[in-house]
Symmetry: C2
Subunit: 887 residues, 2 copies
């Protein structure tokens, strides 16, 4: 005979904490508390199997009825009283309980077992008629609504009428007799609607159980599950438990508490309670809850008496429970308790939610307290949550005057004056002003302005738009794709709803939430104390993948080193060309009509580019640096307005028509799929030659100066055919060998490619013949595999997520089935040709924990991400290594 | 002992025609002619194996020397005379001969064996001292140049000097004695340069043999092989043969002839000859060659005597050779002959090149003559060559004043006045003028103008740019991507080099060559006679794949039916929306801000769209039609200039700002990767709903009217995730079922998808769950797999082809290793889920023979191409079926 019902109460239980899947989280923990001697009102859990059985067969298993009857008898035995008894009735609560918490999504029925007769018994037994009738009318109201489907409005209007007639301002003023009259009217409502409230306690019980099971499939629960990736076939358990009352007199109380401070992680009892109140009163905020401990009371400078003062022995008992639970679960617990006539009952315990800072502190301290291992500590901190700790954030106390929202594109917060062009940003910055750069979207030309800005706001572009990627790379807060923000460059202002922000007006961005606020808000600086360093060191011991950073400026490289980067996985050389001193020579190269002209212009860029690499090699002190040769289409270096073109023509001493003609002839319909990457190197090998020269001359210079072992990794972008790589490899090889020979230096170096095209993945076996490493450029690989531009997908990707087609932002978290499959194919083919090929990822996904998990699963050697994501990646890689070991 | 040398001569040979790989084409055919009793000067072939041996080991096989000596003895025996003999010297020619003809790429040495002594023998034996010394000096000149590497200039300057001194206008005036003096000076040249001409005939022979082998690897030969995909390891054979002279007197002659007319295919002897001349004289055009037959002479109204008249018995002998060779080879032959003192020698025979029309006629007539089978006939006609036959072409006699060239984007030729906007094209067309539409590039808005134009010229865009694709679809000639054409819309003119073409100037385009010409050229209309129909019927019997067409207009559909299309593989519904009557409603839909607004606008489009399908279903009479739902991004329907926006705002009765805002907010950086395809259907399901309604209402209407069995195939574009297809399938299904139920009609229909994204290929197993068919959209699949925009790739793809990275235009011929692999994966996965899934291709590649071969190899059920490619595809599919059967 299948066991469908699990009893608990009186210090023993048939279930335990490991039986979450069968009993739900709540039921499993209630059983566990019983088992370890913590006072819990007796009850039973009807298993999740019943839920799935019921969903499938539209009826209950035959044995269920008898098992429930027996379980009710057990409650009566443990708690005293009888269910449905007219003198000492046991009342029951009926609650849902799924494997994972789905707060507020499913139904609950309280005070079950009351009827016109048992209410009298409750009144007599409790000696409090008002309490009894109030409980009864609450039950009728709740039951009629939840189980019978009567609209709550009907009951509310009766209550309003009664209060109005008696001039009462709140329900609490209604007397026992008045409640009796209300109850009659409540019962009439159901009758009139053909949905009469049942007097039979057993009928009540089965009605409530069925309603709770049915609530697993109400629309809001289904939606919640979809959003949280919870399978519908898990089902819910139903927990039936004897009622205890915190509102049955002045010797009663109820409260919620945490074993440690969920905000700071401090190892101190934290909680709130109310005397003579029900659980919902503590949460609802009608009465102000009081601090549990004297210490907390003093710290909060509160006048309200603490539980420690009011009920010292019960407080002591609660402290014992706290200690017992934490020692038992070895995790911070979030508990609910009720004190009924000086007796403590625990109603729930579960793992407590906490801030990132608290999670970190609790994990580290629990290791010190020998409660958990270092590995467990590392696994307890969500990698993504670290992001909160690494950037200045808005003071939680500050008032937020939100005028619009966009995507939380780069974390952290910043205030400054709104400016509408990169040029203005730089000008104002020189004048000592703090600015926020506001653009419809950004382009590489804006890099200078972005650099000096405190934060960046764009009206267009997704999580991996230019603005977002660059901002994250720089560690600048950024809100992107704020569709409601209407920017007018001409008048230098933007509108967000009815609010107009003019140039110079101060705004604040929260890059972690996507909020845009008017005015300046106070900030909190990140504190990366010892706990952070300690946990990260443990994480580093666990992980098997290296973590590099995507960086090209000395500032970024230094920042990343501070955050623990073990090399540079992607140094984009084009960002270096946008410097005003260099871009003129770049432009001269672009308009040159022969190789000699291009070489002359490139010769001017060479010393700058060489110095870039000297700086990076020096900073990174022998750590590996993957340098990607020029990637973007050349038109990105040319200006688009006629005014700017005229200016450049003057600077270069050429006719403006020449510039305009270049701009026109270089224009591309789909620049993402255009003349870029190694296609530039194939058409103008002299560009890559100059870059190779700069790299190896710099490497030689730094080697001679510092003696560091430098192993430059030269990366050829956008390879789709093995011959592209072979030809570009030849250009780099010849240059490198010449320079090293002339310098009399022996130096290892590697040449590899960015794998970012489906064709490269499918022919990776061929490409690996000439590649010492593959670095997966999953940004572009996502764009090509899905045929989806990251800049343009904002218009529909949100709808795709809403409809559940793609669960996550594809540009933030790798599409495992599509792009991941591409990567898997490439890894397999690449290794078939060259078993020891070095494999890494340098797309945005390199900083995303889910994607890092994927990288571990396919056997990459390292991930690379923007400097501020390095700690996240280090922690995530530790989790991934653990998951892989377990699998 | 390996046999390195194969003798022929005197009516027998050691080789034969099947030994091309070993003896080269020339050597194999010389042997074959011997075997079938045709007079050929004796000689021998040194095998291609010697070439590869020599390349590898840098020396000859040991046995070679003896084998060559023996072979020379054989020549002496057969021809009389002795090699190096002073009284009756045998002279030799040394020629290359690879498996396939590489005309002019490798070296030749003639008159070998002459030296200061043997020349006297030749003079005496021939009785013509001038002939002997002229031959000798030619030999020294050729040998010194080819074998010794002496610059030909040295000899030419001596000749110039002699002619000047004697006041001669040509070499032929130089006397025997003068030649003697020249010979002394020629010999001195080599001596002075340290490259003396060798007197020893054997040394001469080995020098020449080595030079010919070495010429296999000279730069021009290597390049030629690369361009023609000939492997370098094939090597060349060397043919050494006794010299015969057509220039040894008036009883000598030389000529070139074909067994049938290579221009028309007529079964008539066709050829030219000259008396007392060498082979090169016939080709070089210094003397005008004479017609072979009397009939040809009469037809050409020539006064020159025919060979039939001059040497009737030799002519008769040649006619016998012609008959013998054609009967033997069962193929039209191209032959060279020499008559030496009234004796006929055949020097070469090979399969003759011919025009497309001739190929067709010869193939069909040879079947009627029972020379070859129908299958052989089908295989003898190059599918691509049919293109020449299906369009009007420029009269071959017309003088071409070429002012620029672009890509031969759509075949055929057209003349007309240049206009620079689609609007002007339509206006001028209404005024009865013939126009050529000249645009930098075209967009869907230009469709009306393209339709009325005679031809289309664009400065930008590849073989599959919008202009090219649409033009091919319409059968309009098009030259695209003419980079040298600088178009100025403002002044309405373009410059090509120094030539300026103004609006209204007449130009002619040759879409088959890419040439742009000034003025009007006369045209030749295509004649699709009985041969064409007969051959196509044979092809249809052979092929296993169906051939459909890409068409959406009644004109195209009718044209395609005429060309034998078996259905429509791609009906693009968006082209239907650009009609002026409909586009306003489309625009109204786009600017609508809610579903109701969109539905109202769509309701206006519905009747038009329904009529489109009524027309197509009626025309196609039950043949399958695959209808693709709306695909392009919505911004393609909006105009880009402010003037046009203002006009539309007026038409729609809205503020222009609203239109401008729509244009701005719909702008995309990479429209190819943007909000298009089923992404439109997912965000605005009402669009696809309207289209489904139009399709099924039309199907019902036509079914009721005609009784044709109609099986609509509804195609959802740009699917990347199975849920996209599932959701859109639901929209179409619901609509279809409702309409069919209301009409009381039972009708099968299919819903499938276009496979055009790598992600779709990798997840084809999942997608096939909801797809009854896959149609490979290899245009977009090429763009995404390679990350290469077809519109932007013009800037570098040419260079890629030049450098040998990609051999062919990727958008014209499928990239088998990359895109093909994608298709292969999708086919395999799709069939795993749904073994009987219908598979087709509707990209541009569907009309390309190489790609059709690929389609056959992966097991597609049909190919679909533009109407004018349908015959090409039918023939290519027959070839592919044959290749598959053979493999």
């Amino acid at each position: 005979m299948t066991k469908w019902v699990y009893n608990f109460g009186g210090g023993k239980a048939e279930g335990n904490a490991t039986m979450r899947n069968l009993l739900g989280g709540k039921g499993a923990n209630l059983a566990e508390m019983n088992n370890i001697g913590i006072p819990v009102p007796a009850g039973f859990s009807i298993t999740t199997d019943v839920c799935t059985y019921y969903q499938k067969d539209k009826k209950y298993p035959d044995e269920l009825k008898q098992q429930v009857n027996d379980a009710v008898s057990n409650i009566e035995k443990v708690m005293g009283g009888k269910f449905g008894d007219v003198t000492n009735p046991v009342l029951l609560s009926v609650r849902s309980g799924s494997r994972v918490s789905m707060p507020g999504m499913m139904d609950t029925v309280l005070n079950l077992g009351l009827n016109d007769e048992t209410v009298e018994g409750l009144a007599k037994h409790s000696g409090d008629a008002r309490f009894a009738y109030d409980s009864y009318r609450r039950f009728i109201q709740m039951y009629s609504n939840v189980v019978m489907g009567v609209d709550g409005e009907h009951f509310e209007s009766v209550l309003e009428e009664v209060k109005e007639k008696n001039n009462y301002s709140s329900d609490t003023e209604i007397t026992a007799d008045e409640w009796k009259a209300v109850i009659v009217r409540f019962e009439d409502i159901g009758k009139e609607l053909g949905k009469p409230f049942p007097q039979d306690p057993n009928e009540q019980l089965w009605g409530a159980v069925s309603a709770v099971f049915a609530s697993w499939n109400v629309a809001r629960a289904v939606t919640y599950r979809k959003l949280n990736h919870i399978p519908g076939n898990w089902g819910t358990a139903v927990n039936v438990q004897a009622m205890v009352f915190g509102n049955a007199g002045e010797d009663c109380a109820t409260g919620v508490c945490f074993t440690r401070d969920p905000a700071t992680g401090e190892n101190a009892y934290y909680g709130e309670y109310l005397v003579n109140a029900q659980g919902e009163d503590v949460v609802a905020g009608i009465r102000t809850p009081r601090p549990m401990s004297l210490a907390a009371k003093l710290e909060a400078k509160s006048n309200a008496p603490s539980l420690e003062e009011v009920m010292p022995s019960l407080y002591k008992e609660l402290c014992d429970v706290r200690e017992k639970l934490e020692l038992h679960y070895k995790e911070m617990q979030d508990m609910e308790f009720t004190i009924q006539h000086d007796k403590l009952w625990m109603l729930q315990t579960r793992t407590g939610k906490r801030t990132a800072a608290a999670a970190l502190r609790i994990a580290v301290e629990m290791v010190h307290e020998k409660l958990i291992t270092k590995e467990e500590a590392v696994l307890r901190v969500e990698p993504d949550s670290l992001d909160q700790l690494l950037h200045p954030t808005i003071d939680p106390e500050a008032k937020r005057d939100v005028i619009g929202t966009g995507l939380p594109a780069s974390p952290g917060a910043a205030s400054g004056m709104a400016v509408f062009s990169a040029e203005d940003a730089e000008k104002w910055h020189e004048e000592g002003k703090k600015v926020i750069l506001v653009r419809i979207e950004t382009s590489p030309e804006d890099i200078g302005g972005m650099h000096v800005a405190q934060g960046i706001l764009t009206a267009r572009g997704g999580m991996t738009s230019h603005a977002a990627v660059v901002a994250r790379g720089m560690g600048r807060p950024c809100v992107s794709g704020a569709g409601d923000v209407k920017i007018d460059y001409k008048t230098k202002q933007f509108k967000a709803g009815s609010i107009v922000i003019k140039e110079g007006d101060i705004i604040t961005l929260d890059g972690s939430t996507g909020e845009i606020m008017k005015g300046e808000l106070s900030m909190v600086e990140p504190e990366l104390g010892g706990d952070f360093g300690e946990l990260m060191a443990w994480a580093d011991e666990m992980r098997t993948m290296k973590v590099r950073t995507n960086a090209e400026t000395p500032e970024d490289a230094k920042q990343a080193l501070k955050f623990g980067a073990e090399g540079i996985g992607l140094c984009r050389t084009e960002h270096m060309f946008f410097d005003p001193k260099r871009i003129l020579a770049m432009r001269q190269m672009i308009i040159a009509d022969d190789e000699a002209g291009r070489r002359a212009a490139l010769a001017k860029v060479l010393p700058y580019q060489r110095q870039d690499f000297v700086d990076l090699f020096t900073i990174m002190e022998g750590l590996p640096i993957t340098i990607r040769l020029l990637d973007p289409p050349l038109h990105e270096f040319l200006p688009h307005t006629l005014e700017e073109q005229a200016e450049i023509a003057k600077d270069l001493g050429v006719d403006v028509a020449l510039i305009t003609e270049s701009v026109t002839s270089l224009h591309e319909s789909n620049p993402m799929l255009g003349h870029r990457g190694c296609r530039l190197g194939i058409t103008y090998p002299e560009i890559y030659e100059m870059q190779a020269q700069a790299i190896f001359e710099a490497a030689v210079e730094v080697f001679k100066k510092t003696g560091s072992t430098i192993v430059p990794e030269v990366m050829i972008p956008l390879v789709g055919h093995k011959l592209e790589l072979e030809m570009m490899r030849e250009v780099v090889d010849v240059t490198a060998k010449k320079i090293l020979k002339e310098a009399g230096v022996e130096m290892e170096y590697q040449i590899g490619t960015m794998i970012e095209l489906p064709r490269a993945c499918l022919t990776a076996d061929k490409i690996a013949e000439s590649a010492e490493f593959f670095s997966f450029g999953t940004n572009d690989l996502t764009q090509t595999t899905l045929g989806m531009s990251r800049d343009d997908s904002g218009a529909f990707l949100k709808i795709y997520q809403d409809k559940g087609i793609y669960e996550r932002d594809l540009f933030a978290s790798i599409d495992v089935d599509g792009v991941g499959e591409m990567v898997r194919i490439a890894v397999e083919k690449g290794k078939a040709t060259r078993p020891n090929i070095k494999l890494g990822i340098c797309g945005e996904h390199g900083g995303d924990p889910k994607s890092i998990d994927f990288c571990q699963s396919v056997g990459l050697n390292y991930v690379s991400c923007s400097p501020f994501r390095v700690p996240v990646a280090r922690l995530a890689a530790a989790h991934s290594a653990y998951n892989a070991k377990k699998a």
